[in-house]
Amino acid sequence: MRRTSGVLLVIGVMLIVGEDVSAQPRFVGDLRGLVSVTGVERAQGESIVQLDGTLIGLTAAFRVGFLELGLRYAEGSIEQDAGGQAQDLVMGELQLRVQPVSFLQVGFGPHARSFVSDGTERWLAWEAEARLGAWLIPDIVRGTLDVALGLGGSINSGAEFGSASGVAGGLEVKVPSTPLYVGMGYSVDQLSQAEDARTDTIEQFFLRVGIWP
């Protein structure tokens, strides 16, 4: 609960700051708050455990020319359907991106996913990402598709990192006569330990509200 309040506070502050930042002519920033309905399928041997919950968080991006620094943070609680033990899921990502052409961005950076219960199990993957974007209705509706591939990583529990990959995509709609836009999307990330000793698949349906850059 305290964490949730903290995140909301950060979102509020960044919404205010983001508005100022977006007013700069050469330095452009945008900020989005997000809520996601999240499901985690954990497969370990023959055992498959399903955990569901809701995450809230934010994404932010700061652009200068064709360079962009992207941040994403989300957290929430997930638990088993059968009323099993709940745990927190915290996800954070930092990416440095370049935009070689108008419809494509490529980036690279760390992506951490932590499962917190009695202890904290942190997966850290270094991911390369390609993001395709297209205006479906010029200046009103934009569609995006992100594909990420982990190039390496580590797990703090001592288990050996195997692989990480992800896909995300959705729509963003500018709200007429306002600087706001709303978006919805879907993403799936899969993290595997070496030799598929354990595989976590994180599936999210998310809604976003942001300030148009």
């Binding site: 499901g39 399928e41 497969a43 419809f103 395709l132 974007g133 297209a134 205006w135 479906l136 209705i137 010029p138 200046d139 509706v141 569609g143 995006t144 598709l145 594909v147 990959s165 992800g166 896909v167 995509g169 959705g170 729509l171 919805m184 999307g185 879907y186 799936v188 990330d189 899969q190 595989t199 698949t201 599936e203 349906f205």
Partner: protein
């Protein structure tokens, strides 16, 4: 007595001198006339004073000296028993200066009474105008000041050179004095054109018959103001394309379908062994449908309503600026700056006393 003789001698020499009477001659004749009057040599006084009044140019009298000469000329005629001549002299004096009053210390009551009667019966107006006035047409800045000899009816007009009235400034009764205003406009409300005009003040009798007219020539010049340039029409860089090109429609279709299919298909490849929900199909389908919709909305050649509205607003805004400039120019041209230079007033009697 000696002084009078010396003055008379000097005046006689001047009178006898052939050609043009020199510089102070008028004043000398006036002094001689006054001296002769005081010696009751009324015939000589009349002669000196008439010569003094007829002197012109450098030898001419000042306004005050003329008034003094006429008052003594009237008095001399009165004492000689010629009331008509006295009235004529006094009438000239009133026409010259409607506010003039005989000095009661110099002249007996019967003379001042006669003068007062002549003044009452002589309907004339003295007009004073500033020599040069600069003002914007429409601004009531030209202010003639009228002084009347006595209570009577007047008509004040600004006349063109051919005598037609351009503007009637006043018609009515004047008692002592009257201040008028002229804004440089004609009766129709237009600014007068450059040219010669006259301020005409007609004094009328009881039956509105014209008695006297005072004319002040006015030389009007017009200074046209600078006008605003019309704003340039909106350039192509400001206007947006009003019909869709090939790009936006294709981007919507290809982008929407690629993203939609990617959202549906790629998760199965990334997490092939996981049991994924149908959410990706909903989201992917939405993106693909939005792409198709975007293509239909922006198919090549389709009107882009937002751009059409934007361009229309830009053009309307430009038209508003054009109209504003035109209005302002019309206003400026309708209200040019005028320079009115006044000449010497002249009074013409129309046969009336």
């Amino acid at each position: 007595m000696i002084a009078f003789r010396l003055t008379a001698f000097a005046a006689a020499v001047l009178l006898a001198w052939p050609g043009r009477v020199s510089g102070q001659a008028g004043a000398l004749l006036l002094d001689s006339g006054i001296a002769a009057y005081q010696e009751l040599d009324l015939a000589a006084a009349t002669g000196f004073l008439q010569r003094a009044l007829s002197a012109s140019g450098d030898a001419g009298l000042t306004a005050d000296q003329r008034a003094s000469a006429l008052s003594y000329l009237g008095a001399a005629a009165y004492l000689q028993g010629s009331a008509d001549s006295a009235e004529a002299a006094y009438r000239r004096l009133v026409v010259m200066d409607p506010r003039y009053a005989l000095d009661e210390l110099l002249f007996p009551p019967e003379m001042t009474a006669l003068f007062a009667r002549v003044k009452r019966e002589t309907k004339v107006v003295h007009v004073t105008v500033p020599p040069v006035v600069r003002f914007e047409a429409g601004e009531p800045a030209y202010e003639p000041h009228l002084v009347a000899s006595s209570f009577h009816r007047i008509v004040v007009t600004i006349d063109a050179r051919d005598g037609t009235a351009v503007r009637r400034l006043f018609e009515g009764l004047i008692g002592d004095s009257l201040d008028l205003e002229w804004d440089g406009l004609t009766t129709q409300g237009d600014a007068v054109e450059a040219g010669r005009y006259q301020l005409r003040v007609e004094s009328q009798g009881p039956a509105r018959e014209p008695l006297r007219v005072v004319r002040v020539p006015l030389d009007v010049s017009v200074v046209l103001p600078d006008t605003l340039p019309h704003p340039e029409p909106p350039s192509d860089s400001v206007l947006l394309p009003e019909r869709a090109g090939r790009g936006p429609g294709l981007e919507a279709l290809v982008g929407g379908l690629a993203a939609g299919v990617g959202i549906i298909v790629l998760p199965s490849l990334v997490a092939s062994d996981a049991q994924l929900s149908g959410t990706r199909i909903v989201v992917g389908s939405s993106v693909a449908i939005a792409g198709v919709f975007g293509f239909l909305r922006n198919r090549p050649g389709a009107p882009i309503s937002a751009n059409v509205e934007h361009n229309q607003a830009v053009r309307e805004s430009w038209q508003v600026e054009v109209d504003r400039a035109a209005d302002e120019n019309r206003r400026r041209l309708a209200r040019p700056r005028l320079v009115v230079e006044a000449g010497e007033p002249s009074t013409i009697g129309l046969g009336a006393p």
